[in-house]
Amino acid sequence: MFIATNGGQSRIKPSVVTDEALRKPYETEERITSKTQIDFLVLKKLRQLGIEPSRICSDEVFVRRAYLDVTGTLPTIVESREFPEERSPNKRRELIENLLESEAFSNYWSLHFCDLLRVKAEYPVDLWPNATQAYERWIRTAIRANMPYDQFARQLLTSSGSNFRTPQVNFYRAIPGRNPIDIAKTVALIFMGTRAEKWPSALLQRMSTFFSQVGYKSTMEWKEEIVLRDPTKLAPRDQTCLFPDGKAITLPPEQDPRTIFADWLVSPHNPWFARAAVNRIWYWLLGRGIVNEPDDIRPDNPASNPELLSYLEREFVSSRFDLKHIFRLILQSTTYQLASIPRSIDPKAAANFASYPIRRLEAEVLLDAINDITGTNEVYVSYTPEPYTWVPTDQRTVQLADGSITSAFLEMFGRPSRDSSLSIERTNEVSTDQRLHLLNSSHINGKILYGPGLNALTPSGKKPENIITDIYLRILSRTPTEDEMKIGLEYSSPKNSDPKSAAMDIAWALINSAEFLYRH
């Protein structure tokens, strides 16, 4: 693959000033206010640094952003058309609430948890297909029920049983080495957001003792495996453990040591657990952790806004580890609702959340969006490993349980390998082969030209203005500006091309525009 960018945070060259007219579709006149505690803390920091934040984003941008960020889907034409017209002062809040309660929320966010928990059928870890399906379903069900995050973690860490019937035990199967050290590192990374390989080795060694009795055994059923506590795996003289905070404990012989660790981990007084979780959600929604990378929390990698981080931690603990509560707090802040076009060229602006950072859509979301627009779908099949996997054609790509199912598109657009749980595994960089694929592949061209979706929007006899407006609403979730309409009409003029081809070319251009490809 050939990549032209680091793809990370957007930076504005000092010499460039964006024309006010060009900003128009994307932002309002409104400035950030200390409406919520998040805004108060962000604004306080920005003032200290003398950084001017962006304006609040337009309704058109907001409706698209909220759909993409909360559900991984695009708003429909009707939703895109009506939202800016609504007069309710609480309409943004109401939209967020509706989206948080939708089925699409759990479908989309289980994708991210499946990345974290390494849900895939094969290699280098063999979860195998049936267990993969069961594990993904368990995760999705937990998210749909908004299972308190302490329970979520506890179940993953302490369960015993069959990989098919107690799917959360797959947590321990998705670790390549299956040895106490690798388990300890994985637990630290996922639930503490920290890299235990940077700890003193004696600490890691002694923490790993909590996982020294994790045992595995196969059954008579094909590809079934039991995860259990095997007390014989640890000699009594070795039963002194260290918690990651350095506190020592001697394991009581009758208790599964995993439960002792889990009690420590999810305790409201544990500084690591809540911090890692809220920082990760912030990273997911705002493209950058308050501690960044979100899985590299350590004393010498400080938070860009410590007060903000500890506020979110307190909220998480006092809400009894309610994930949706943290989503809601962030989504309802004006910080989250800032426009993506910066007002400041200060290099510290991005780390202090002075605008909403643009990010290319994830591979799965991008493909689902193109399929929704064009009324098409993908076929996912796998003949290895056995048993074979056939995915129903109406299932969305974000819902693929098996993160390793073969797909050239998803590979090309940076689907994570689900090997390491690291956030950087998912890459939203742009590359020439991605660009070629969207501009010129038969895969994408075929969907645009022959799929029922855009064809339904462009029947013969429909006025070109209406066609162009509908295409804009469908693809960019807004109506065209006057200039854009003029360009579109000129392109559609019968002396230039036939109306159908012109409409399809406009749709093609919008699908290839930065505005479609990026969250903004």
């Binding site: 060009l22 643009i358 390998s417 090997d419 595994e425 061209n445």
Partner: protein, 449 residues
Amino acid sequence: MGRRRDDRGQLTRRELVKYGAYGAAGMLFCADEASAQTAAPAQAPPKPKAKSVIQIWMWGGPCHIDTFDPKPKSGAAYSGPYVTPASTNVDGMQVCQMLPLLAKQADKYSLIRSMTHGDYGHETAAYVVQTGHTGGDGQVYPGLGSIVSLIKGYNGGYKGLIPPYVVLTQLQGRFSESGFLGNRASPFATGGDPNGGRFVVEGITTDGITELRQRNRRDLLQRLNSLEHAMKGDSAMLALGKCETNSYDLMLGDAGKVFDLSQEKDAVREGYGRNTFGQSCLAARRLVEQGVPYVTINYPGWDTHKEHFQAMQNLLPQLDKGLSTLLIELSERGLLDTTIVWCSGEFGRTPLVAMEEPWNGGRHHWGPVFANLIAGGGFKGGHVLGATGPRGEEVTDRPVHPSDLIHSVFTLMGIDPDATLPHPQGLSLPAAPPRPKNIQTAGPIVELI
């Protein structure tokens, strides 16, 4: 999308084979058996001259006995109908009777008959063969193609618009070619069929859109790209624009013509064989002519648990024609000196033919032995390295592990085996795989260099 096309046997087949075969396999070698042949005397390392690799990946695992390690004396129970091997243009070197054209070119390649790793699973064995790593340390290492294209691609002076790592035509799937290097080092899969009326390479070859319309679209996109205009100068927007320029250069300029096989004379195309594999060999030759450092031809169809010999009647003549013509053409064009051709699958196949139902003359997976063909780029031709027992069940001389072969490819390409690969967690891991712990081997294949 790159789906597996030929793995549709019985549900439990792979498991049966796995457990059934382990007992007889004799996977590990004793040290004294393994040290049969000593390495060539130490001398100054040759000046590396290999610039490109063409990897022919026989997905599914070709049978060593029916390709590069014939066992005519073992009888029909082991060799099926192939009991009269072809003599080659090199004295004493034989290949399967189904490869008469390759037999005439044996001076150009060498055979390694003692490849071994002991792994019976497609994905794990594919990983071991292409990375040289045996797994288990929690890392997912990149394959040879990703490492070579990373080091010899844009970081190594390659300037072509064609990506430095091309797969004809589909990704292997499951096995992630780039491992921890991530998608910066993953291959460009062409899609399409080089044997089709037109080789439509996804994204590069335009299908059904006129050039005028393509240009009109480009102009329209530039005018309607409003967010890009509003964020002009942003690094992400600059990167997107750069990729777009590259794309149009490939689509509308000359670089993409490398995939236009109609530029070749009919006689040349016929010489490679009018099938997907043969025309992929032709496309590979054209790609290395343009300096592309790594080309993989992903060649499925070799996982022949059932009716193995019927499949071979079709596959072996294709392999024979395509590969022999590739070697001749590379040689005639002076490219064989700088191009390594490596032909391998993930493992061998059971020497004893499974005559019973439901296999009806099938062969299953065989991890202890497989055979490779290697040519060019500084590898000597006309040699046979290593040997197997009378029925091809075990290595008897000079075992070669995939890590040994990868080391030798590095040597010929001038890649430092200790070069550090970029790692997402900042670990310092060398480019070359370590010697395997559980298998005795005789080390890099210095005899062929």
